[in-house]
């Protein structure tokens, strides 16, 4: 789900860059000192996730993990995703430097959205935790696909067609991300609840 160089117009890339800088600034300002290591670990997981391919029938998809990064980190997801995407450009040549801001927004905005919508539910029973995390993982990819379609609309000019194509291609990822996020968040709640946001609500 990386947009390559030369796809988007200058205005869209500039707007994406400004939004990414603003989001990253808010994220860095709100970083909890005690959670820095967790942010680095999740940023590393996001960096590596795009290399993990899952073969489903004739197609091959890769993990994104912006849902789990979002639900666990909140606004800190912005710098975590920006750094990971930048390193993916440098080391793997995915995407590009000029659309980096747009790519960051496409991944990080859904991450923050699922943080606000689903993170309050992770403190309920384990079943609700799993369900909320599943939807956080699935919805973040779904929302990213919509944002990707919106960004491409300005060049392709057929939003619905492009978005349906993107959603169709990412349907397996939406389900897999949901399951992985569900299992991971439930697992963290059992063994390492400190990584979850608003730990005081547990006490």
């Amino acid at each position: 789900m990386h947009i390559s160089e030369g796809v988007l117009s200058g205005q869209i890339m500039a707007a994406g860059g400004v939004l990414a800088i603003a989001g990253t600034a808010i994220g860095l300002k709100n970083i909890d000192y005690d959670k820095i290591v967790n942010i680095a670990i999740l940023s590393s997981a996001f960096f590596v996730a795009s290399l993990i391919h899952v073969n489903i029938g004739p197609s091959s998809v890769h993990l994104i993990l912006n849902g789990i990064v979002g639900i666990l980190l909140g606004w800190a997801a912005f710098p975590a995703i920006l750094v990971a995407l930048l390193l993916q450009v440098v080391f793997f040549q995915y995407g590009g430097l000029t659309p980096l801001g747009v790519n960051t927004v496409i991944m990080a905005v859904p991450a923050i959205f699922v943080y606000y919508v689903f993170s309050p539910f992770i403190w309920k029973s384990y079943k609700i935790t799993f369900t909320a995390s599943f939807f956080a993982g699935a919805f973040s990819v779904f929302f990213s696909a919509i944002l990707l379609g919106s960004a491409l609309y300005l060049t392709e000019k057929n939003f619905l067609e492009v978005t349906i194509l993107i959603l169709g291609a990412h349907l397996p990822v939406i389900i897999i991300e949901g399951i992985i996020t569900g299992f991971c968040v439930t697992f963290f709640k059992k063994v390492y609840p400190e990584i979850l946001p608003n730990l005081q609500k547990l006490e």
Binding site: V37, L51, I52, P79, Y94, L148, L152, V162, V191
Partner: protein, 175 residues
């Protein structure tokens, strides 16, 4: 004083790191969804092949053939096996740029030198040259790239932690 006592939180953090880094041990292909197009000239025809780095051919990808000034000479669509070919345009005086739009934000391009095109008009093939250039272009991510990337992420966030702590200490000193 250096404390050698490892708290429960630290142990859990180490366990989490081991869990996440164990992802690296999965038998996966270190490949993702970068897209490539490459082209060669042979017997008056230019052949193109388009594929994703996951070795899947690009089906129905849009191909644009441009001259050195960026003028689009012809367009086409890749077949199911990622190929698209066309006759060398008459009176061609420059190299060609073959651009691929595989959809969903994936684009790639290939420059076909004028020398290769003129040799093809004499009945020679530039496939071997193109394949060599293609091999140089496609560099799969290595485990070293992954490890260095992760180290950079940790150094970056440790720097942020250091900076944040310094700011916090300055605030406390003022109070």
């Amino acid at each position: 004083m250096i404390s050698i006592v490892i708290s429960g939180t630290k142990i859990k953090r180490i366990a989490l790191m081991i869990l996440l880094f164990s992802i690296l041990l999965f038998p996966v292909n270190l490949l993702a969804h970068k897209v490539y197009v490459f082209a060669w000239a042979e017997n008056g025809t230019i052949f193109t092949e388009s594929k994703f780095s996951s070795s899947k051919w690009v089906k129905n990808g849009k191909i644009f053939i441009q001259d050195e000034k960026g003028k689009v000479l012809l367009t086409g669509v890749t077949h199911n096996n990622g190929t698209f070919s066309f006759k060398i345009p008459e009176n061609l005086q420059s190299h060609l740029i073959i651009k691929l739009d595989a959809g969903m934000g994936h684009k790639a391009e290939w420059k076909l030198d004028f020398d290769e095109i003129t040799q093809a008009n004499k009945g020679e093939s530039s496939k071997a040259t193109a394949e060599k250039k293609q091999e140089e272009k496609i560099k799969d991510p290595s485990i070293v790239n992954v490890i260095v990337g992760i180290l950079i992420i940790f150094v970056f966030f440790l720097f942020i932690a250091f900076y944040n702590k310094k700011l916090l200490n300055n605030k406390n000193d003022r109070k």
